[in-house]
């Protein structure tokens, strides 16, 4: 996972597999980021695999973000990852943009 700063906005670039362990690390790092910013963009461009445990960690991250009034935007998902979100109806729960550029606004 890499974190970059684009025009003052934090973009978290996920890589490889999102499971219980990596998902939990993502959650911890993004919540840590929220100590100094109000918006985090999570790019799924490098994500090849994700399971329900990883997805649960991302839902939990959203829950914590909402509670602390922080904004989370997901972007750059492959068709397969996007299908997971639409299968579970979570595409309506998360703010999802097609590309990082759109997420940055």
């Amino acid at each position: 996972m890499k974190i970059k700063d684009v025009r003052g906005k934090k973009v978290v670039c996920l890589e490889g597999e999102i499971n219980a362990q990596t998902g939990s690390q993502v959650k911890a790092q993004v919540l840590d980021l929220f100590k100094t910013c109000n918006l985090a963009i999570i790019s799924f461009k490098g994500v090849v695999y994700m399971n329900s445990s990883g997805l649960r960690e991302i839902i939990d991250l959203l829950k914590n973000s909402t509670k602390s009034k922080k904004e989370l935007i997901l972007c750059d998902m492959s068709n397969d990852i996007r299908e997971m979100f639409s299968f579970t109806g979570l595409d309506k729960v998360f703010k999802i943009c097609d590309t990082e550029a759109k997420a940055l606004g």
């Binding site: 695999y49 649960r56 839902i59 959203l62 579970t88 309506k92």
Partner: protein
């Protein structure tokens, strides 16, 4: 006529004014007066949800406001306009003159809940309420759920779920017994979102529901709520007589994605006869991070079903070919050209000189879609394929010429920009000219602005002309 005062809000430089049903030209005097009185305006939103129709004199007032916005440099939007007004703007050629948006923030809670009944607005209303969720909204949604309207209840549940209202779990559980299937479906989904594992056993009862969407929602929520035992439980549904139930179970097992799920899916592939289920199984198997997956997918490239072969080839693109490069190269000439298309694409990350040479050798034997895929892959190759790609610039197929130009660009060939400079005003295909202009604008060779500007007048394609104008100005 007695003019009523227009409802308005002003916050952070954003002024929103709600027009009345009987909109009158005097209303615009009020808006102008507000614009004079308030300082630091960056945005004016004119809400028209009360207006059924507008006369031409109102159009003149809107145009005057637009001109004022341009002079004073603030944005202006027309909010919540209906189809009639949209058509009036269209007929007057003013549709593109204004930004037109939906904005539900001007509605009170009761009006918003009524809009749950509008199939076009319902999702957006849900978003708006979830984004502004507070105790008042929660109270209203609970009231809606207590009413007998199944559509409003469905959206009230979904809104609470979207707002991550974990306090609503008892309500969602109760709605699993609602007589309306759309309400039950919403409750199933939301219980998955909020992670209510206590509801999982009850949700299993919906996995073979006669309503396919309910069964799919149940499968999704069970996957979200799953623990170590659920793969075995879900696997029982892989033997259900209904294809749709088996597909839902496949998707759920793919999402659970543990070792047991993989074994069940692999075994199901051996017995399954239905093509749609086999396609779903193929996609599901490719979602596992296991070495064995590639071997299974390569074997499936020989499946009798074209749809399964395509799903397998697409899966290989996803997981990467690793040690199966030569097997995939052989598939580039498959009798199903889409298998060839995906097989070539799967080689993009491993296109060494040897692979590139094999692809070039079979190029003339394959169909146009496979050729396109090969040209694209050669542009990503570590080998020098520039002379082969330059030959493709002469191809009769405009898609191949465009892709060859793109591939030359991607490969970093020194010749790429010179070819673009030849094609931007000579190629008969606008697709090729567009790509050439894009490359020139990005590379900015000496004198490019003059060349592109000269081309604007003679370019007859609007997309290329717009690209030229965006590159060098009108």
């Amino acid at each position: 006529m007695i003019m009523s005062e227009l409802k308005n809000t002003f916050k952070d430089g954003r002024l929103k004014v709600v027009l009345n049903e009987d909109v009158h030209t005097d209303d615009f005097d009020q808006i102008t007066s507000l614009l004079k009185k308030l300082s630091g305006i960056t945005y004016l939103g004119i809400d028209m949800h009360n207006c059924v129709y507008i006369q031409s004199k109102i159009l003149a007032e809107l145009i005057a406001l637009k001109k004022l916005s341009m002079a004073r440099k603030f944005d202006i939007s027309l909010l919540n306009i209906n189809e009639n007004i949209s058509q009036v703007l269209e007929m007057a050629n003013l549709r593109s003159f204004f930004t037109i948006e939906d904005d539900f923030s001007v509605f009170d809670i009761n009006e918003l809940c009524d809009r749950f009944l509008d199939p076009v607005d319902a999702q957006n209303v849900c978003d708006c309420m979830a984004a502004n969720y507070d105790d008042a909204i929660r109270e209203k949604l609970e009231e809606v759920i207590r009413s007998d309207d199944p559509i409003k209840t469905e959206y009230a549940i979904l809104t609470m779920g979207r707002a991550q209202d974990y306090g609503g779990i008892d309500i969602f559980r109760k709605e699993l017994d609602n007589p309306a299937r759309n309400v039950r479906r919403a409750a199933i989904l939301v219980l998955g979102w909020v992670g209510d594992t206590d509801s999982k056993e009850k949700i299993y009862n919906f996995l073979a529901d006669s309503d396919a969407e309910t069964a799919e929602a149940a499968a999704a929520s069970i996957a979200l709520l799953s623990d170590n035992d659920d793969s075995d439980k879900l696997a029982k549904y892989l033997k259900n007589s209904d294809d749709r139930v088996r597909i839902s179970a496949v998707k759920a097992l793919s999402l659970v994605n543990d070792d047991r799920a993989f074994e069940h899916l692999k075994n199901a592939m051996a017995d399954e006869k239905s093509e749609p289920v086999r396609v779903s199984l193929t996609k599901a198997i490719s979602s596992f991070n296991k070495e064995e997956v590639r071997e299974i997918l390569i074997k499936l490239l020989d499946a009798p079903s074209i749809a399964v072969r395509e799903a397998a080839a697409s899966g290989i693109v996803r997981v990467g070919p690793k040690n199966y490069v030569s097997a995939i190269v052989n598939k580039v000439t498959d009798k199903d050209s889409w298998v060839g298309f995906f097989a070539a694409k799967a080689l993009a990350e491993v296109c060494t000189e040897s692979v590139a040479s094999q692809l070039k050798n079979v190029y003339e034997q394959v169909e146009e879609n496979v050729k396109l895929s090969i040209v694209e892959v050669l542009g990503k190759s570590s080998a020098d394929n520039s002379s082969f790609l330059m030959e493709r610039i002469k191809d009769a197929n405009e898609d191949i010429r465009k892709e060859a130009l793109n591939a030359l660009d991607n490969s970093g060939s020194q010749e790429a920009i010179n070819i673009a400079l030849k094609l931007y005003d000579t190629d008969e295909s606008w697709l090729v000219r567009y790509k050439a202009v894009e490359m020139i604008a990005a590379a900015k060779p000496v004198g490019y602005e003059k060349l592109l500007r000269l081309r604007i007048a003679s370019e007859d394609n609007r997309y290329v002309r717009e690209k030229l104008v965006s590159a060098v100005g009108d």
